[in-house]
């Protein structure tokens, strides 16, 4: 055993050993300078230990046990140093006496307990504490408190609290059994985390969480007694694990838009209470993943009477609960067992005020039928002809979640954002041209049915996030938000044929976008982003897209395999556009100097019209030698094309214009669906398979020759066969020359008629199987 002798005087470090002097003796009150303790030492401080100078743990050390019973001096602890007490030989594993002073100033002055035995903290506040019981485990013998920011980690066999309280910042538990008895465990900072597959005893315990930052509760799927949470700065959860709670209480922070989220189904047997004291700051009770329902098993009949001012989303119950007497909001996805109050119209009356003020809302127009609650997500907020008398009053939109909002018919007023967060509408929004809109952050459309947005010619001054899951948002008129972002997060966005003007547009995986009108995108950076085709429906061939930008860098992410209508880059003015993704495009026009880079395969069924303002002022290039197929009549002027591994463009004979000052263009000959008298040329220099199949293809075209057309075959620059009318076969000599030729051009002149053109196109299609056209 090692008894603290303090013989080093002012040199009080545990490991002090100089000139035969140490701080340790072999018995109580004995000063015989034995060597400092080691991992097999039982260290004792008692009433005989000197108290003049504080004993200091200056270096990480492992001892077998520590017993400070009767000591009235001070034990200090250097920063980032861990005292490890690891033993199984003693009843007392670690004991701090109530009369001593032990004050680790930071959590990193840590304590680790391993093995078996009793642990007394003596009422002192401990730093980070790691307890690793083995065998019969470790017994807590008094109330345990750590620093607020400290973590209590327990891993091993059994830790028994003996009904004493624990107060710490966070608890991380991976031990077989936490025998918590009736202990109250208070977590002042963050998480409760218990690993799955263990056998804890928690059903009579109380967990109190008063977090000040984001936090979570990983319950491990066990039966808990009382869980009582309050005072979160904002946001709670997720709660994970299929846990059972005898009593679950969440008291929201009534000064912010607080929320609580669940990632797993759970059971409540006694009481379930989620509440906010504020009509304005209602608490949002939701699934961690929007659209993925979490089920509360309430078959034991718990009371929900304590719930107030909560909006519920994606939370189902196994048994019916009548909430119709409460103002519980229904955001959708909740199943049928919640007896929510039915949605009603709530009329604004009148003039200036706050959405969150219940006194502004009535069950009838013109101020009749007072209410105690502002509109819920299932309600419709109505501003009508009786809502505004004063001249242009200010209305503050300060509710985070609303249902439909209708301004039809009301007089002029100003609507301003009253939140630092976004607003979410679970219904339609109908604006009025007389409104003045303040600048907002996000207007999210989350209604899961079919809802409309009517902007009434107003310029929208907030980003819009369309997130209706299985629902749809339809435009009822043109949408004008040239300085703001339109994002399609889920579900369907149907712009109909209406014009849309946005700063930036993005549609993520799994969404459907329908549009046939003219869209204008005027933004910076990632101005257009459409997800991959595998998950995305973005096929809008009748949509016209105008891209407007300045002298900066942009990206246009087209997605994969989507179909676009004409895209016009209107005013690039020296900008650089990264055209990412592949797809099917009708026409791309690009006016002005700048640089457009394509980085994937494109199939252009219309024109590519690149007209730089100054010679060599416009560059179009492939980022990595991508493929580019153009099957239209194309125009290029003052443009340089580079870094293409494959390029096919029409030439002047089929309507394409080489406007001059072009470089790097390869003017191949191909056109499909030509008019009368036009020569359709096929360049076979890129022939890629079965040369002899050329003959079959030519013969196929020859069939057309029966209908007053001309067929001419040019192999390596020389005409090897030609005929007018019934050219049905190609001589063997021609076949040989064609097969051996470096290049073959096949010309067919057809008469204009739908029937001929159809046959001609079919024949070209046959050729297309053999030639890379």
């Amino acid at each position: 055993m090692h008894w603290w002798s303090g013989n080093g005087g002012v040199n009080t470090n545990w490991n002090y050993n100089s000139g035969g002097t140490t701080n340790w003796g072999s018995a109580s009150g004995v000063v015989d300078n034995i060597a400092p303790p080691t991992a097999i030492s039982d260290v004792v401080f008692d009433a005989a230990s000197p108290t003049t100078n504080a004993s200091n743990i200056s270096a990480a050390i492992t001892i077998q046990s520590l017993d400070c019973n009767g000591y009235t001096g001070t034990l200090t602890h250097s920063a980032t140093i861990t005292l490890t007490v690891s033993g199984t030989a003693n009843t007392i594993l670690c004991r701090f006496s109530a009369g001593m002073t032990y004050t680790p100033l930071t959590p990193t002055r840590a304590l680790a307990l391993l093995g078996t035995g009793d642990f007394y903290s003596g009422g002192h506040t401990i730093g980070n504490l790691t307890i690793t019981p083995s065998g019969a485990g470790i017994n807590q013998r008094d109330a345990l408190t750590t620093r607020q920011t400290a973590t209590l980690t327990i891993a091993g066999t059994t830790y028994t609290t003996n009904n004493f309280a624990i107060t710490t910042g966070r608890m991380t538990l991976t031990l077989t059994t936490l025998a918590a008895g009736t202990s109250t465990m208070t977590l002042t900072r963050s998480s409760w985390s218990y690993s799955t597959g263990e056998t804890p005893s928690l059903a009579s315990s109380t967990i109190v969480m008063t977090p000040t930052t984001g936090w979570s509760f990983a319950g491990g799927g066990y039966a808990y007694g009382t869980v009582n949470i309050s005072g979160a700065t904002v946001g709670a959860g997720p709660f994970t694990g299929t846990n059972t709670f005898a009593a679950f209480t969440y008291t929201a922070n009534a000064a912010v838009y607080d929320w609580i989220s669940f990632a797993s189904n759970f059971t409540v047997t006694g009481t379930f209470s989620v509440s906010s004291s504020s009509n304005l700051y209602r608490v949002h009770v939701k699934s961690t993943t929007r659209g993925v329902q979490v089920v509360i098993d309430n078959s034991a009949g718990p009371s929900f009477a304590g719930c107030s001012n909560m909006d519920v989303e994606d939370i189902a119950l196994t048994n019916g609960i009548d909430m119709s007497a409460t103002d519980t909001g229904n955001c959708g996805g909740n199943g049928s067992n919640w007896g929510f109050k039915a949605g009603i119209n709530k009329y604004w009356h009148k003039d200036a005020g706050s959405f969150a003020s219940a006194t502004q809302w009535f069950t009838q127009s013109n101020g009749a039928g007072s209410l105690t609650t502002p509109p819920l997500p299932q309600d419709t907020a109505v501003f009508d002809a009786s809502s505004i008398d004063a001249a242009n009053p200010m209305i503050t939109l300060d509710i985070e979640r609303l249902g439909s909002v209708v301004f039809t018919g009301c007089a002029a007023c100003q609507v301003y954002r009253g939140l630092s967060t976004g607003h979410y509408f679970y219904g339609s929004v109908t604006l009025n041209s007389l409104l003045s809109l303040g600048i907002g952050l996000v207007a999210g459309f989350r209604g899961r049915g079919v809802y409309y947005f009517t902007s009434a010619g107003l310029t929208i001054t907030a980003n819009i996030a369309v997130d209706p899951l299985t629902g749809s948002l339809l435009l009822a008129d043109a949408l004008n938000m040239p300085s703001y972002y339109l994002g399609i997060i889920s579900g369907t966005f149907d712009a109909g044929g209406y014009a849309v003007s946005v700063s930036t547009f993005a549609a993520v995986a799994g969404t459907t976008v329908t549009a046939s009108g003219t869209w204008t995108v005027n933004g910076s950076g990632e101005m257009w982003g459409v997800g991959a085709a595998d998950y995305q429906t973005f096929n809008n061939p009748s949509m016209t897209l105008n891209i407007v930008g300045g002298a900066m860098e942009y990206s246009f992410s087209a997605g994969d395999e989507n179909t676009y209508g004409p895209i016009h880059f209107l005013a690039i003015a020296g900008g650089t556009y990264y055209f990412v993704g592949s797809g099917y495009f009708s026409t791309i026009s690009f006016a002005g100097d700048g640089h457009i880079l394509f980085d994937d395969e494109m199939v252009l069924h219309g024109n590519i019209i690149l007209t730089g303002a100054t010679p060599s002022g416009l560059y179009a290039s492939s980022v990595d030698g991508g493929q580019f197929y153009s099957k239209g009549a194309n125009v290029a002027q003052n443009a340089t094309l580079s870094y293409w591994s494959s390029l096919t463009l029409s030439d002047a004979t089929t309507g394409c214009t080489d406007g001059g000052n072009n470089a790097g263009w390869i003017w191949h000959r191909y056109s499909k669906g030509v008019a009368a008298g036009v020569v359709a040329d096929l360049d076979t220099s890129r022939q890629r398979s079965v040369p002899k199949s050329i003959v079959a293809a030519i013969n196929s075209l020859g069939e057309i020759g029966r209908i007053r057309s001309v067929l001419r075959v040019i192999a390596s620059g020389a005409v090897t066969a030609s005929g007018v009318g019934r050219v049905r076969t190609v001589p063997r000599s021609v076949e040989a020359s064609v097969v051996s030729a470096a290049t073959v051009i096949i010309q067919v002149i057809v008469k204009q008629s739908a029937r001929v053109l159809n046959r001609f196109n079919r024949a070209l299609g046959t050729l297309g199987r053999w030639f890379d056209v």
């Binding site: 119209n345 004008n480 014009a499 003219t518």
Partner: protein
Amino acid sequence: MRLTTLIQVLVEEDTEFGWFRDSLYYRLEEHKGLSEADIEAVAQARVDAWVEQCKNPPVPVEPTREELEQRLVRLDQAIEADARRRIQLVDTITMRAVLEREL
């Protein structure tokens, strides 16, 4: 539930920037008080405003260095997430292959 009857007026015009389509909505009593010229004026104002905006759009704001760095972080996170999904997918495919062999 109170019903409101609305008159929808479709607005369509082929402009130099493509077809502009919009709708005007009027309550029945409101519509009765308007002449064709009144409605035409509102429709034309919508068209003119749109054309003007196409001609003179708001000046895009050059991203700040911080925004570009955030964009880079998002890209890196997306790449990382894709890599994780790829690993999961490869694992799934491998597992299925093993199961198929065992069957």
